[in-house]
């Protein structure tokens, strides 16, 4: 009696495989049942057939760049505008918009969005992933809400970490350099019969920029520690699970920016650093029903904790209920009164205004004279806590050799908790349905289209379509035309902010209380609509086999309407959907393996931005690009040379050359890599903002990495 598949079943299987009845029951074809691994559902489009523009930053490039931050790596992506608000706050946007708020790009780590819904931002330096754990970064240049959900408005950055199965062994890395650079990394990976895991610990420190525009020390250093655990486990032939736990704690320095509003206050606090803690956990269950049908369910939970408290001093009148009422009636009037209170008090008359305003202002002036001018100091707590639960089901069905359907649904719950920003807790739920059909109409024509329907509790629903046509001249060369629409839901901050400061621990009681409400209070409109993007793209992607050269060219014309452009400020934040922007231009990207030892990579983007709000033109460099040359010199030596240039980011030119030289040494079974990186700025400008200045135009850091 034979155990295992019966000959009949085996022959059927082989018959199906070869589609040739004569071959059924073949004694010479290996009958050991191998599972179909690279199934139609698992295989991706070839680069020429991708329905859009894609830049892949592979492992080799990431390592060679010497970059310490994910945001720095994105300089290698054509059209990506990478700037800095401060040394620990990168600002990254594709094609541009506002320099201080980059909120129109989706960022995912292994499928989990790290875009903070509460405050409409991505904290690049707080992402709980070490550079050493990144396998590659796929940047989808263009809107793609159908595949990545709302907020994938301008681009999607998809960070893919190394699979635990590919991280076996032990790694230690230490980096030290100028500007207080002090990083470390340690990881251990192991595998067993049915699974693998990787545990990694890492830390990062640097001083940020050296000085502000006045030449004073700039308080923007950062320090952080991370821990991450990634496990994949095979349950059986069809099922597997992957789960991850990530945690990060650190401190981001913030300069003290509070300036007393009222006359005569000289005392002030010191700093307003942020203690940032991030926690994330995700679990993904993969099910392969058969070679034509697979699905996964991924659930994740994330928590962002930003603790920011500082001591501020101002006149006691800041807490006057009358002044608060006046602010609510007319913030402009209240601000005028507050800033000029001494003058108005001396003159004995409030500023001109309506009788009601003047009546209240008179009361305020009386309070000013009756002890209101006394300086009071207290604690301000601007902390936020955000929590997100996300559940996604995605189903991939290969209907035939030429037709594939990807569909799914997503549920997300977001909660933001902040006394200052939301006067307590605010939450939101989002439902999403999406579907995309890929149809290979012929050997040359590929049509891919889809739509996403989203319903958000706070902002209502929307439907966004997307269609792409690829013409494959041959499998390696393709032309594409893409039309897509995308939306961005206003985040809780933009729409529902309820911004006020409750000052506690007052140095002297105000109205008999040790805590009091500051008079400035800002509320979001609550009825903002989604921003809407219409994007048109023509492109070419080709791989020249003989030259080993990959070329991608793209022409684009993108329009954003209903744009929320108002900066998030607590004095007079009047958000609306009244703005619009247009971005047009071209991008190209070339990756050339010149020889076995040399790799050349060039990117260039020309972007023309037109925006109804001039702030939305600030982060667009009309000419930007990068050039890289990687070389293996043999005997363990390798080098990389990169040039990055932006004609103007927020008005400042940026040009830098990065050089990395590395030597690999074999120590028995272990490998040691010693590397030095030199970054040399070529221009004399501050980085993105006037306060971002270095003492020296160059920085050097060294790293040693041991692997065994």
């Amino acid at each position: 009696m034979s155990v295992g598949p019966s000959p009949l079943r085996l022959s059927l299987l082989l018959g199906m495989l070869f589609g040739h009845p004569a071959l059924a029951d073949d004694l010479f074809l290996d009958g050991s049942a191998l599972p179909e691994v690279l199934t139609a559902t698992r295989l991706k489009q070839s680069p020429a057939a991708v329905p859009g523009s894609m830049t892949v930053l592979d492992n080799e490039l990431i390592r060679a760049s010497g970059a310490r931050d994910i945001s720095e790596l994105l300089r290698l992506v054509p059209g990506m505008m990478v700037g800095a608000i401060s040394g620990n706050q990168a600002t990254v946007n594709y094609h541009g918009t506002n320099a201080s708020e980059a909120r129109r790009m989706q960022v995912l780590i292994d499928g989990r969005s790290v875009y903070r819904a509460g405050l409409a931002t991505v904290d690049w330096s707080d992402i709980p992933v070490a550079m050493e754990d990144i396998e590659r970064i796929e940047v989808f240049r263009g809107p793609n809400t159908v595949s990545y959900g709302a907020n994938a408005l301008m681009a999607v950055v998809n960070i893919i970490t190394r699979a635990p199965a590919n991280s076996h062994g032990t790694r230690f890395k230490v980096t030290r350099g100028q500007r207080g650079i002090s990083d470390w990394y340690a990881s251990q990976g192991t595998g067993w019969e049915t699974g693998d895991l990787r545990l990694s610990l890492s830390g990062q420190e640097d001083d940020g920029f050296d000085k502000n525009r006045l030449g004073a020390d700039y308080r923007d250093s950062k320090r952080l520690n991370r821990v991450s655990l990634s496990v994949s486990q095979l349950l059986n032939e069809q099922q597997s699970i992957d789960w991850q736990l990530n945690a990060k704690e650190g401190t981001n320095q913030r300069p003290y920016t509070y300036k007393p509003v009222f006359y005569g206050v000289t005392q002030q606090g010191k700093d307003s650093d942020v203690i940032a803690k991030d926690y994330a956990g995700s679990l993904r269950w993969n099910l392969e029903l058969n070679a034509q049908h697979s699905l996964y369910i991924q659930g994740s939970a994330q928590h962002w904790d930003r603790q920011q408290t500082w001591r501020a001093c101002d006149a006691a009148i800041s807490f006057s209920p009358e002044l608060t009422r006046l602010w609510q009636i007319n913030p402009n009037y209240a601000e005028r009164l507050a800033r000029g209170i001494k003058g108005f008090s001396d003159a004995g008359a409030p500023p001109p205004g309506s009788p009601a305003e003047q009546a209240i202002a008179q009361q305020v002036l009386t309070q000013w004279s009756a002890g209101g001018k006394q300086t009071v100091c207290g604690n301000i707590d601007q902390s936020t806590r955000e929590t997100r639960y996300d559940l996604e089901l995605q189903d991939t069905l290969s209907l035939s050799d030429n037709l594939r359907l990807v569909s799914g649904m997503n549920y997300r719950y977001d909660r933001a908790d902040s006394e200052t920003y939301f006067n307590g807790t605010l939450d939101d739920t989002t439902w999403r349905l999406f579907g995309q059909l890929e149809w290979r109409a012929s050997e040359h024509w590929l049509i891919q289209g889809g739509a996403m329907y989203e319903d958000t509790q706070l902002t209502g629903n929307s439907l966004t379509p997307r269609i792409a046509v690829n013409y494959l001249i041959n499998p390696r060369h393709g032309l594409r035309a893409v039309y897509s629409e995308a939306i961005r839901s206003p985040d809780m901050f933009e729409n529902n902010v309820n911004w006020s400061y409750r000052v506690t621990g007052l140095s002297s009681p105000v109205y008999g209380q040790s805590s009091a409400q500051y008079f400035v209070r800002t509320r979001g409109p609550g009825n903002l609509d989604q921003e809407h993007m219409r994007s048109r793209e023509l492109g070419y992607n080709g791989y020249f086999v003989d030259q080993a050269l990959n070329l991608d060219i793209k022409l684009f014309y993108d329009e954003i309407s209903g744009m929320i452009s108002e900066p998030l400020r607590n004095n007079q934040y009047i958000a609306s959907n009244s703005n619009s922007s247009r971005f047009s231009g071209s991008e190209s990207q070339l990756d050339w393996q010149l020889s076995r030892a040399d790799r050349l990579r060039l990117t260039y983007a020309y972007v023309h931005a037109q925006a109804s709000n001039r702030l939305d033109q600030r982060l667009t460099a009309s000419n930007s690009g990068s050039a890289g040359w990687l070389r293996q010199w043999g005997q363990g030596w390798s080098s990389a040379l990169f040039y990055y240039g932006d004609s103007a980011l927020n008005g400042y030119r940026f040009e830098r050359i990065d050089t990395r030289l590395a030597k690999r040494l074999a120590l028995g079974k272990a490998n040691l890599e010693l590397a030095g990186t030199l970054q040399q700025r070529l221009d004399h400008q501050p980085s993105t903002f006037a306060d971002n200045r270095y003492d020296s135009r160059h920085v050097v850091y060294f790293s040693a990495e041991l692997e065994f």
Binding site: L23, V37, T39, G191, R596
Partner: protein, 309 residues
């Protein structure tokens, strides 16, 4: 019978004719009505089908299958028998006895032979390799991935002996073999290293490395690096290898047919079948951006190349 023979010129001529016929029968006897005996440890429909097809192809021979357990020691079989072994167990049985009829060993790979024979080559045995010849696989690489230069090869201590031959074959094609030992398949670092340092992966028919347990890691890792795997066999192509050459039952029937036409003393000591096919995975090719592979055309071109060395 002799007593009834006719006399006279006609009789003479008839006698001569018979004589010639007998002579020719005598000369051709080993080539014609041969006793072809197939054996394997297990009797199953696949074996029976094969036997039946071989019998149909060689009506002049007496082709039969006898299960291994029913056979005497090899030395006790008539020496004129042509023995065909269909599995390693039957080879073990055949090796017990240095005497015995001329034997064709089928369904044996280079690796299995190396393990069982340790480099020796017992007389009377003709080994017909089941794994695709390395040079043919390398030619296939040249054909479907003309830009590939560095061919990555994972090996175990079992398959290490193949490397020299592989290197020689690669050199003549302008290819370079990048070999990496893979001692423990739980540790994927050698695979990762190899993928980084090669343009394409060539799978050896080494069950320690290429088996149902490792197939997922092998294929997913190479796909993640956009590297194609060539080989090691047709089953792997179905799982996600880009392509492989292979010989199926029809090819083996042709090969056997031509061998059975020859006298056993002319049988080669070892042989790769000249008849083969190419199998490719069009979905994988498409995803890797590789021109569609026409298996028949490629097989024909490879075969033509082999015929004019």
């Amino acid at each position: 019978m002799a007593r009834q023979r006719p006399s006279g010129a006609l009789g003479m001529r008839r006698r001569l004719g018979w004589g010639l016929f007998l002579l020719s029968l005598l000369l051709c006897a080993p080539l014609r009505a041969a006793d072809v005996l197939l054996t394997a440890s297990e009797d199953n429909p696949a074996v029976r089908t094969f036997t039946a097809e071989l019998a149909a192809q060689r009506p002049q021979d007496q082709v039969r299958f006898v299960a291994l357990e029913q056979l005497p020691a090899p030395g006790q079989l008539p020496s004129a028998t042509r023995l065909i072994l269909l599995d390693p167990q039957s080879l073990d049985w055949r090796l017990q006895d240095p005497r015995g009829p001329a034997t064709l060993v089928l369904r044996i790979s280079r690796l299995q032979a190396q393990q069982r024979l340790q480099g020796t080559h017992p007389p009377g045995l003709s080994l017909l390799w089941s794994d695709p010849p390395p040079s043919r696989q390398l030619h296939l690489i040249r054909k479907v991935l003309p830009q590939a230069r560095r061919v990555g090869v994972l090996y175990s201590e079992d398959s290490q002996f193949l490397l020299n031959e592989l290197r020689g074959a690669a050199q003549s094609l302008g290819l370079e073999i990048v070999a990496e030992p893979w001692d423990s398949t739980h540790d994927s670092r050698p695979l990762q290293n190899l993928l980084r340092n090669s343009d394409v992966l060539l799978g050896l028919d080494d069950p320690k490395l290429y088996n149902p347990k490792t197939v997922k890691n092998l294929l997913l890792s190479s796909y993640a690096q956009q590297r194609a795997l060539i080989g090691p066999n047709a089953g792997f192509v179905r799982a996600g290898s880009l392509a492989s050459t292979y010989s199926d039952q029809q090819d083996w029937l042709k090969t056997l047919d031509s061998l059975l036409e020859q006298a056993p003393n002319r049988w080669p000591r070892a042989l790769y079948p000249a008849d083969f096919k190419v199998l490719s995975n069009p979905q994988v090719a498409r995803s890797l951006g590789i021109e569609e592979i026409d298996p028949q055309a490629v097989a024909r071109q490879l075969s033509e190349g082999e015929q004019r060395p």
